[in-house]
């Protein structure tokens, strides 16, 4: 038998036996992103060189994406500093965390990035980003009930931004709409730093009964391993073909494309099929196939279970019969899941799959050998201890160092920028900000998403948080995502806290009690010590803030290498906060609906303009320090907002964030179609545009003002009467009065005129 010969039509197989006999065969591990030390480690683990299939498994499982090798030492802080929470049913480490929301219901939620693919092929990149996070939620045993999308693009007028935005938004909508998941919120942010590094972070939330939680584990020797869902094709396996072509069959294996293509219809079938499978309690373990596909599912299931698994790769249904085993192992084909099923339940499992037109195939068996063994065409090509691939990947303590330019950046305070002072200048600034892409109305994007499907959407964009009713009510959940790359660039520790602060505040503004956190950490290259410092500081900041606010991190995702050449993006932690509503009928909206309501401002305003939208929009200035996080004030504000909502005191509430008071007021006016008149005692510029934290504006019936004031006093939240709702203009006494029609035109016109 020739080793890599071409004497027969059948290409050679790199078997375990062969690997033991031919230690010196050169394998293209470097092309697969593995360094010498990592490769040597694989050899030590196996006591021989890996087969090409084994190398495929280790290289993907030990990639940054799957192993978190650069971030793991830092992420531990989320666990170390986790506040105690009775609500936490499943913490970090599973596909997604699960929290108890009361009344016999649990909720699982997670946010994940699909940044790089969304730049290469925006539609498919974003679509498969949504598809991937939905399968994570599904694999916890939950019914997915909503999605959110947090998006960042390059400069709005840059030539490529239109392509990326158009494709990404169509992709998020195309997939989520077709899947029947309401989109209940997100972000759209523009900044030149994201030009060639758009950020597409997708969040999914699902609902389940605590007793229905599923885990990614393969216990019980003799249990069957079933691969179900779409066929396996050459999606996302650029790397694998290096292996196949370099080692074997040079001519017939061109480098394969690395684009993954989504099929939302298949995912919908998969979802309904899983719901019936869960209802009949047919699985002992289940795992979605995401990055690293079959490699990841088999190693992780086996490692978390009895420890062994035999898999016959010939049984994997292929969309392309020419795929080699390495490619099957690394394929990132979408809409696939793997289940572990007791033999007696296999027939019923397959029957339900058939009912939903979901292909399903038994491909393996759980064993107690402690080894993951795979055969292909009758030969053993993989024989490894699965835990070494799944859990024992390399861990790096990458060097980090405060970026050299940070001192200068922080010293470059916005205080010296000329401020508007006359009524005309203030008015112009209000208009200018309202029509700037980051602050303008996002309906151009959000109207492409179905927010009504499933019939449980209580609040969605443009309210501060999405709110979903659970079961038949009255309980429900609220979710918001926030992140600010400019703040985080100026101070990563504070920036991460500010992101959490804002999401926490958004959730509380609707009247929900914040409960738990998910996060997506978007950064540059971990090999850049400056970036690594930003990362470490951000994680530290977030962990400390979660502890202070009493909300644990339940899961998340890290995306590194978001940079162009040596220029990283602004570090952008995107934080999702989940809150609970005991009664969703008490939810509070942002819109000013009733004439004559009193407007109160809660919280303290300081002159804080570092990283502000004002400095950004008017001067393209980024410097100084971001607003000071004040977690105690944030918690106090939330307690007032939640308490007031529970008592039904609030007719409207809107938190203050990007763009400050001016922006919050005009959004509430435009949403409800009613104007307002306010009086500003202090420096009107600071009052209108500062981005100090822990503030919200509320509209209350004059008779209830005293009660709200009492709640504020009890919680030590400063409160001040601002003015009154009514009329058809946004009026600041003694300064300006802008007709809502005029405001509406700039606010709503901005994105359509750029991208319509």
């Amino acid at each position: 038998m020739t080793i890599y010969g071409t004497e027969s039509a059948r290409p050679a197989v790199d078997t375990v036996a062969r690997a033991a006999e031919t230690p010196d065969v050169a394998l293209p591990y470097a092309e697969l992103g593995m360094n010498d030390e990592e490769f040597a480690r694989v050899q030590r683990i196996l006591g021989r060189r890996p087969t090409s299939a084994e190398l495929a498994i280790y290289s993907v499982m030990w990639s940054e994406h799957c192993s978190y090798k650069s971030s793991r030492v830092h992420l531990r802080k989320f666990g170390d500093k986790a506040p105690h929470s009775d609500a936490l049913l499943v913490g970090m480490g599973e596909n997604a965390g699960v929290v108890d929301v009361g009344n016999g219901w649990a909720v699982t939620f997670k946010i994940e990035s699909h940044n790089h693919p969304s730049y290469v092929e925006p539609y498919q990149g974003a679509a498969t980003g949504v598809g991937g996070i939905v399968r994570d939620i599904l694999s916890m045993g939950a019914r997915p009930v909503a999605v959110m999308d947090s998006l960042r693009f390059g400069a709005p007028d840059a030539s490529d931004t239109r392509r990326v935005l158009d494709g990404v938004v169509r992709g998020v909508g195309g997939y989520g709409n077709c899947l029947g998941l309401p989109n209940i919120g997100g972000e759209v942010v523009f900044d030149p730093c994201y030009g060639a590094n758009p950020l597409v972070n997708a969040l999914c939330v699902g609902v389940l009964k605590p007793e229905g939680i599923k885990r990614a584990t393969a216990p019980g020797p003799g249990n069957q391993v079933i691969l179900f869902g779409a066929g396996t094709g050459p999606d996302g396996i650029g790397g694998a073909s290096v292996l196949a072509s370099a080692t074997f069959d040079e001519a017939s294996h061109q480098k394969r494309p690395s684009v993954q293509v989504g099929d939302p219809f298949m995912e919908k079938l998969l979802t309904e099929c899983c719901m019936e499978i869960f209802a009949e309690d047919l699985v002992v373990g289940i795992q979605d196939l995401g990055a690293a596909g079959v490699s990841c599912a088999t190693t992780e299931l086996a490692a978390a279970g009895t420890g062994g698994m035999d898999v016959n790769l010939d049984l994997v249904p292929l969309r392309d019969p020419t795929l080699r085993p390495e490619e099957i192992l690394m394929s990132e084909s979408q809409e696939r899941m793997m289940a572990v099923v007791e033999p007696a339940k296999v027939a019923r499992f397959l029957e339900l799959c058939k009912r939903w037109d979901v292909p399903a195939t038994v491909i393996g068996t759980v064993t107690d050998t402690g080894r993951l063994r795979m055969t292909w065409r009758g030969e053993t090509i993989v024989d490894i201890p699965p835990g070494t691939a799944a859990d024992e990947g390399p861990v790096y303590e990458r060097p980090y160092e405060r970026p050299a330019d940070l001192d200068a950046l922080q010293a470059d305070s916005p205080d010296k920028l000329p401020r508007p002072s006359t009524p005309e200048q203030l008015r112009d600034t209000v208009m200018w900000l309202a029509g700037s892409p980051n602050l303008a109305d996002k309906s151009f994007v959000t109207s492409q998403y179905d927010k009504y499907v499933q019939g449980n959407t209580v609040l969605a964009m443009p309210d501060d948080a999405g709110v979903i009713r659970i079961g038949d009510g009255p309980q429900g959940i609220a979710l918001a995502t926030d992140g600010n790359g400019r703040y985080t660039r100026l101070d990563p520790y504070a920036g991460a806290q500010l992101a959490l602060s804002e999401a926490y505040r958004n959730v509380a503004t609707t009247g929900a009690r914040p409960l738990a956190v998910t996060n997506c950490l978007n950064f540059g290259s971990p090999e850049d010590p400056g970036v690594m410092w930003q990362f470490a500081r951000a994680v530290e900041g977030l962990a400390d803030a979660c502890q202070a606010l009493g909300v644990p991190v339940t899961g998340g995702n890290v995306s590194f290498y978001n940079q162009t050449g040596t220029t990283p993006i602004n570090p952008t932690p995107v934080i999702g906060v989940l809150g609970v509503h005991d009664d969703v009928t008490r939810r509070v909206q942002i819109s000013f609906n009733v004439e004559g309501m009193s407007l109160l401002l809660l919280g303290e305003t300081r002159p804080e303009f570092g990283g502000s939208e004002w400095a950004n929009v008017v001067f393209r200035h980024l410097g100084g320090l971001p607003p000071r996080p004040d977690l105690a004030a944030e918690a106090a504000l939330a307690s007032v907002l939640v308490g007031a909502a529970r008592e039904g005191l609030l007719d409207a509430a809107h938190d203050l964030s990007d763009g400050g008071l001016s922006q919050a007021l005009l959004e509430s006016c435009l949403r409800g179609g009613l104007g307002c008149t306010v009086t500003l005692p202090g420096d009107p510029f600071v009052e209108l545009f500062s981005e100090s934290v822990a503030r919200a504006v509320v509209a209350v019936h004059p008779e209830r003002e005293a009660r709200v004031a009492a709640l504020c006093e009890a919680a030590r939240v400063p409160v001040r009467r601002l003015g009154v709702v009514g009329g058809d203009s946004f009026t600041v006494e003694g300064q300006f009065s802008i007709p809502l029609t005029e405001l509406r035109e700039v606010y709503q016109g901005a994105l359509p005129s750029l991208f319509g």
Binding site: C178, G180, Q448, G455
Partner: protein, 225 residues
């Protein structure tokens, strides 16, 4: 006797459970119907819900039309059973030739989701008798293939015989000819509607509860029949 209203689930149907909720809120009994079934379970009326049956691949509604249950439904519809197709259901009814015309890509080429004002133009159909003619209601639309078109003769015939059931007011979200949001067959028992009344049955979760009338209408008809 409570009316039994069937809701068909095709692979890819999305608003089936919402339609069932709306039926329940109208004090009728929703009966889930599976696309591959061969009988209508003795229901009094049928709703074809919104969604993306078969992913809307090929054309919206094109594949669902061939479901085994659709043959039964076509017979029943011709026999006078009330049938309401919402969004994707409307598309299926057109593809099945139970209603004339076709629904094509929105003029904007975008998916559009908005709270939409409609005018009920025909309050005599089995699904609109709870409304007044000319009454305006706000109901969500959400679709990408919602642009109703028909040849000029068909259009003329629909208009002159009062078979335009609902029309968009203020904004035409998809470019439909004559702002048409919904139509019916000659007998008025089969109605196709692009907007989603089942998402306007509770003010907590919809822009209004003004969509409930469609479901109440069919229940009233059952009672009066």
């Amino acid at each position: 006797m409570t009316a039994r209203v069937g809701v068909i689930t095709f692979p890819g149907s999305l608003d089936d459970r919402d339609a069932a909720r709306a039926v329940r809120l109208a004090d009728a009994e929703p009966v889930p119907l599976w696309h591959a079934a061969t009988d209508l379970s003795e229901v009094d009326a049928v709703i074809l819900p919104g969604g993306f049956s078969y992913g809307d691949y090929l054309r919206a509604g094109a594949i669902a039309r061939f479901a085994p249950l659709m043959e039964r439904l076509a017979d029943a519809a011709r026999g006078g059973m009330p049938v309401l197709g919402i969004c994707n259901g409307f598309q299926v009814l057109c593809e099945s030739h139970l209603l004339p015309g076709a629904l094509t890509r929105n003029a904007s080429l975008h998916f559009v989701c908005r709270a939409q004002r409609l005018r009920i133009e025909n309050a005599k159909t089995d699904w609109t008798r709870a409304y007044e003619e000319g009454q305006e209601v706000v109901i969500p639309v959400k679709n990408i293939d919602g642009c109703f078109i028909a040849d000029p003769e068909t259009l003329e015939e629909l208009e002159s015989s009062g078979r335009v059931v609902a029309r968009y007011v203020d904004v035409n979200p998809n470019g439909s000819l004559n702002d048409i949001a919904g139509i019916c067959n000659e007998a008025g028992n089969v109605v196709g509607l692009m907007p989603h009344p089942e998402h306007a049955v509770e003010s907590l979760t919809g822009p209004s509860s003004e969509g409930l009338g469609f479901f109440v209408s069919v229940v009233q008809r059952m009672v009066s029949a």
